[in-house]
Amino acid sequence: MKTNRLVAAVAIAAAFPLALTACGSSAPAGGSSAGAAGKGLSLTIEDYYQPPQAATYDKIYKACATALGDTITSTHVPGASLITKVLQQETSKTLPDVLMLDNPDVQQIASSGALTPLSDYGITGQGVEQEVLAAGSLNGKLYGLAPGVNSLGLFYNKDKLAAAGLTPPTTWAELASDAKKLTGNGTYGFAFAGTNTYEGTWQFMPWMWSNGGTETQLNSPQNAQALDFLASMVKDGSVSASVVGWGQGDALNQFTAGKAAMMENGPWQIPSLKAVKGLNFGYVPLPASAAGGKSVAPLGGETFTVPSTGNTAKEAAAGKIVACINSPANEMTIAAENNYIPSNPTIAATFGKSDPDLAPFVSIVADARSRTGLLGTKWPTVGTEIYQAEQLALTGKATGAAALAQVVANNS
């Protein structure tokens, strides 16, 4: 009797973790018949996509697995908790067979040895945009490959610009003067995400790059100038002082509510913008620092990686899944359904012709720069320094130069 009870207790204790894992939002996808027949592997994939985007990926995962004769189960975790989840899985050796990682995180995770080089599976990334490969590589080895990429551009309210007799600005000076003219009656000229997270860093990097600055030499006059430029628009009132707390969703809300005439944002917002009745909007590349200058946009997008699970058969199959997700046909599907730009320039060119909405972003992405190509595993430190400096400058606590000097000194 007593032993029976003990056994029952142990069984319940053992089942508890199983019950917990079952709570994850797992959706089995793929022909379960293949698994039932006894041949083929059952693979797992983890990403941070949420509906409706997740549906596109589930469809692709399923098709890729079925083509291999395998089955695949996808888990979609909330974006903010993906990295913590991955770290837990590293410790417990329960990493999924295929793992999606946002491109600036790839090198960080790869440096621990948790990922396998994609060359093991014959994936070279040939034909893919050089900067996309740079973001997914560490020490010359490719670990993550993105089927689609995105970037940032300048969105503008056509009606408001027309009423003020303006055309979209192409230089910083034009942006500043246009923003000032568009400000008034509860509307600010310009909005962006200046929040104290990596989102703020992502939105600031194009300004420093377009001015000739770089993230490896943070404390430079070019970077200071870029900070001072954005701060000057907050100071003269053409950008709301609340910008220091705004993410990209907040900037979008200001723009759609008619409280901002222009904003810095990305192509993934186009569906939300189109859904707003009576909003007449357009988009152009972000302005260059001076006439004749070049605007450099940042490269965004998620890569697919093969974690080192120790099961060679599954790793090989996972490699094939990653290759399949990055196939030309799937690049087109992801781009069309989820507003990405194919990472292969040839496919992107074809896509640009078929989708006039995203065509401007095809050329923006062609010149875009990755955040971690130069920084590598130093991204968390420098990424934090950049948004901290931006906060100091935008709140008027320090000039651009003083702000950069302060954050660099703090972390050295």
Partner: protein, 319 residues
């Protein structure tokens, strides 16, 4: 509540004095039985309090990075994490912010909580309903209430600024969360709102323990109003007050969600406290060693206040 439990415990003769008396009928000593009763609690404490605490202390002496999770390798770095924490100019800011946040929150919560407790001690219609409504901030999920406060405190379209402007209380919108000079005060204000139910409830129940006869007797001697509070309510309530204050300090020191929800520690680190900075170091910058070092400093501070609490508790019983 804690007081009455300890009082009851004191009236029961200690188990040890009873044990040992009488003939030994079992083959194991009574002592073993006693220890077996304690065992589950000891195992629980070691597993869920001891292990994390020890692990956190060890982590703070290691270079614990993202790679450690996969390789399990975390080189011993001695006090390097603590040195880098103390050297960083942000540390001074976070300590000052933590002190201001804690003192400001506690002062506000306690004064308003005490006033409400005294108010609700009177008998009037709807007293019960109003008193339960007072608990509302406590019942809402923190993330939800901080998001709503963030909207209300928005500089341009927040309801607070709109209202104040409408009644001409202010001439221009107050940058509640967007100015480094105001943000900390705003965050304290929200935390006070959140802490009032805790203070009011505990003080209210403390007031129930003040014998009515004392007031009656005092009123015959002419001690009413402020004098009654000063010479009857306050001295009788003192043990409850010290418990409320010390627990308040410990709860406030570790506040994370409200600050993350409202400002994320910004703007320009104006609302960065030890707790938020520890979180940032560990889960944003993935510098787990540094994060552990900061949280140990926080744990040590909380522990100091917890000891004060235990001491006060003991003294209250002895009185």
């Amino acid at each position: 509540m804690a007081l009455s439990v300890s009082k009851v415990a004191r009236n029961v003769p200690p188990a040890e004095t009873r044990a040992g008396r009488g003939p030994k009928r079992r083959w194991w000593p009574d002592r073993v039985t006693q220890l077996l009763f304690v065992l589950p609690a000891v195992v629980y404490l070691c597993l869920f309090f001891g292990y994390p605490l020890v692990k956190n202390v060890i982590m703070s002496f290691q270079n614990y990075t993202t790679s450690t999770f996969f390789t399990g390798y975390a080189p011993w770095v001695g006090f390097a994490n603590y040195v880098s924490v103390f050297k960083n100019s942000l540390f001074q800011t976070t300590v000052i912010n933590t002190v201001l946040f804690t003192v400001g929150s506690i002062a506000g919560q306690f004064v308003i909580g005490m006033a409400l407790a005294l108010f609700f001690k009177r008998r009037f219609p709807l007293n019960g309903i109003l008193r339960s409504l007072l608990l509302l901030p406590w019942l809402l999920p923190l993330i939800a209430s901080s998001s709503i406060w963030k909207w209300m405190l928005d500089q341009d379209s927040g309801v607070l600024n709109q209202t104040l402007l409408f009644f001409h209380v202010i001439a221009s919108p107050v940058p509640w969360l967007s100015s480094p000079n105001v943000a900390l005060a705003s965050v304290i204000m929200v935390n006070i709102w959140l802490g009032i139910p805790f203070n009011a409830t505990l003080l209210y129940s403390g007031l129930q323990g003040v014998p009515e006869e004392l007031y009656e007797a005092a009123s015959l001697d002419g001690a009413t109003g402020w004098k009654a509070f000063r010479y009857i309510t306050w001295p009788t309530l003192r043990p409850v007050v010290s418990v409320v204050l010390v627990l308040g300090v410990v709860y406030t020191l570790k506040v994370l969600d409200i600050i993350l929800g409202l400002t994320g520690g910004g703007p320009a680190n104006a609302t960065q406290t030890l707790a938020t900075n520890s979180y940032q170091q560990s889960f944003v910058q993935f510098s787990f060693g540094t994060g552990a070092a900061i949280s140990n400093i926080l744990v040590a501070t909380s522990l100091a206040f917890a000891l004060v609490y235990l001491r006060l508790n003991r003294r209250a019983i002895d009185e």
